[in-house]
Symmetry: C2
Subunit: 138 residues, 2 copies
Amino acid sequence: MPEEQTKASNFSISELARMLEVSPSTIRFYEDKGLILPKRTAGNQRIYSSRDKARMKLILRGKRFGFSLTEIAEMIGMADSPMSEQAQIEKSLKYIAGKFSELSQRKKELVILEQDLQVIREKLQRRARELKAEQKKT
Amino acid sequence: MPEEQTKASNFSISELARMLEVSPSTIRFYEDKGLILPKRTAGNQRIYSSRDKARMKLILRGKRFGFSLTEIAEMIGMADSPMSEQAQIEKSLKYIAGKFSELSQRKKELVILEQDLQVIREKLQRRARELKAEQKKT
DNA sequence: AGTAAAGTTAAAGTTAACTTTAATTATCGC
DNA sequence: GCGATAATTAAAGTTAACTTTAACTTTACT
């Protein structure tokens, strides 16, 4: 009896691209950089699993926070790294710990950015009110 | 009686650069792009006020969140835009509102990124425990 | 007044992250 | 089986964000 494959969902490169709103070449580019390794069909075309899709989402999310592809590669690469010896794992865990504190720093910065924007908004609203007042006089 | 200037703190370009941990040329580059407009000395050297410093910080913060310099320029540029007519102000306020919702989206994404990282961490920890167990048998 | 350190500009160079092109191959619907 | 549509690779091209260089001027210090 051959193994039953639980293939919840597999996509072609253009399907995945459409779902993630990036171009197929961007996806291929990430593969060149070692960020994803999709399976291939008999005819050599790429097949993306939903696990691959999740990974792509992680990459894009990281990008939105200004992480470079290299940083992201380090971040996720370790998930399937050889993991043969403890030393490697310990190192990876330390790296992850570093990223966690970086992210909590980002949280604080997000709040500050919002406050900065708030200041700008208030300035604009004040000016808008002034203009309305002037207009009434005229 | 000449006006008393409350010049809390003024910096040269290299002082500011050191404080913000960027290079002087980065600061000059941002000026080329219209992101800051420092005063000049009689001899044409740039002087940065603490207001300029705050603006630089905003720029760098925006960058850390993956905003492009162009986006940041739009974001802060409006703070000192002509503001001559309401139309302009209304437009700016709408732009700001858009940025606010973008930032709240970022907050949610930050949480997801943390969760992704958490999953990777757990995988590593599990593997570390497995290795320790194996070692005991040997 | 003389000199080292810092600043100025314009222009060329670099790097990361893509995009485009071109030539070839695979897959799908009929 | 045929033609349109989608995929594949390698290589060249593009853009944003800097950095470096070169030639020159200011400023600070003795």
